[in-house]
Amino acid sequence: MIRDFTSNEFFAIVAGMQATIMLSLMAFFGGGLGGLAIALLRTAKLPWLRRTASIFIDFFQGTPLLMQLFLVYYGLPAFGYHVNIWVAAGLGLTLNASAFLGEIWRGGIQSVPRGQSEAATALGLGYMSRMRDVVLPQALRLSLAPTVGFLVQLIKGTSLAAVIGFVELSRSAQIVSSTTYKPLLAYGLAGACYFVLCFPLSRASAALERRLAARS
């Protein structure tokens, strides 16, 4: 039966957008924590820590996000963990975001002049304080534009969660399209939703980059 495109269908797509936002936030904050850990490991003194982080980054940057989502979704049950779709999609995207944010922030940490951490060391500050008080605040500021830029990629990346059955913006548009047989309208609306989310972030990222360039 072909249904009409009513306000119900409209709100189904808007509900999908909410799921997309939620999933993006989960992945961004999870990936933020994971990325911080990866960035610190990548800049650690001990070679084997750097190496371990490197392998993690290489794997998640070197394989498609789609494969990573499949691996998490089918992999966890194989190890006896039956998790719901939110956890599977959230975890897959978190791991992926950790690798990319980790690499962005590693670059930020390494662009803080060496004299900064030397001065902190000479004052007697230990690693924790040196990082938290001196290096990371400067590194994150330097990485702000690419970080926001990556958030845009991440939001668009959540659409891949549809293939493991997660109903987010793309999947809800697909459902509406197949029930109303109005694909152009359904996908057009979904596209507009993505644009509303991503465009302001892209502009913000560009503005941040300009501001940073003007300051230095």
Binding site: G115, T121, A122, L123, G124, G126, D133, Q138
Partner: protein
């Protein structure tokens, strides 16, 4: 400063002892059998051509650089690869860098308060009082709430000196503190250092400011190729250097002044 520093060791015992220190960067030997002993309140000026190992020498004292052979003892604590010992030594040794290295995201006051709070465990009030006292002392107290980028180079370097003093160190190391400054700002930094010297601070200064050396130094040490080639009171060193390398170096330096 002498009033605030407590000396657990007798005053006869040198504050810093370096014995046969050798340091390599890969295959390049940066320090060759360096022996140096610095007493409390002594002022040392280290000079020599660039690449002679002056900076490396003072950076070994607070273990910003490790060394491969010999020993360094600061106030009775041996600077080895033991992190605990290194932490203890760093608390007693202040350092001022050529490029200031103030923390740009913190105000002048915050720059001065960070280490006392984090390392010494001072309260905020205590740390602020100490910071304001030392900022006043380097005549920059009225700039406490500005960010480093809002200050001139000379002002930034004076803040860096105050920041190091806030840890109430027993020794101050200066690594070419005026080399990155515009000429008109050199004097304000040197005056601050002279004031510090007059208060009895133990100081090791890597500098090419020979006027400062004449006025303040107890000993001038001349280095080349990672070795200490000459060690003399400033009058002797400037009037009649012994080593041909020192003669050559002085000729080049003084030709510019």
């Amino acid at each position: 400063m002498s009033s605030t520093s407590t000396a657990p060791n007798s005053t006869e015992q040198p504050l810093i002892v370096m014995g046969a220190v050798e340091k390599w960067f890969g295959t390049f030997q940066a320090l060759r059998s360096v022996n140096l002993s610095v007493s409390k309140s002594e002022k040392i000026v280290l000079c020599g051509p660039s690449g002679s190992g002056k900076s490396t020498l003072i950076r070994c004292i607070n273990h910003l650089e490790s060394y491969q052979k010999g020993k360094i003892v600061v106030d009775g604590v041996s600077v080895t690869d033991n992190q605990k010992a290194i932490d203890v030594v760093r608390q007693e040794v202040g350092m001022v860098f050529q490029s200031f290295n103030l923390f740009p995201h913190m105000t002048v006051l915050q720059n001065c308060m960070l280490a006392p709070i984090r390392v010494r465990g001072s309260s905020k009030q205590e740390a602020e009082a100490t910071a304001r006292r030392y900022l006043d002392r380097v005549h920059i107290g009225n700039q406490a709430d500005k960010y480093p980028a809002q200050l001139s180079g000379g002002q930034q370097q004076r803040v860096a000196i105050a920041r190091a003093l806030c840890m109430q160190p027993k020794v101050m190391l200066f690594d070419e503190p005026t080399s990155a400054l515009d000429p008109e700002m050199v004097k304000e930094v040197l005056d601050t250092m002279i004031g510090l010297a007059q208060d009895g601070m133990t100081m090791i200064c890597v500098t090419h400011e020979m006027g400062f050396a004449r006025q303040v130094a107890d000993r001038v040490i001349f280095m080349a190729d990672g070795m200490i080639l000459e060690e003399a009171p400033p009058e002797t060193f400037f009037k009649s250097p012994n080593h041909p390398r020192a003669k050559q170096f002085l000729g080049e330096i003084l030709a510019h002044h």
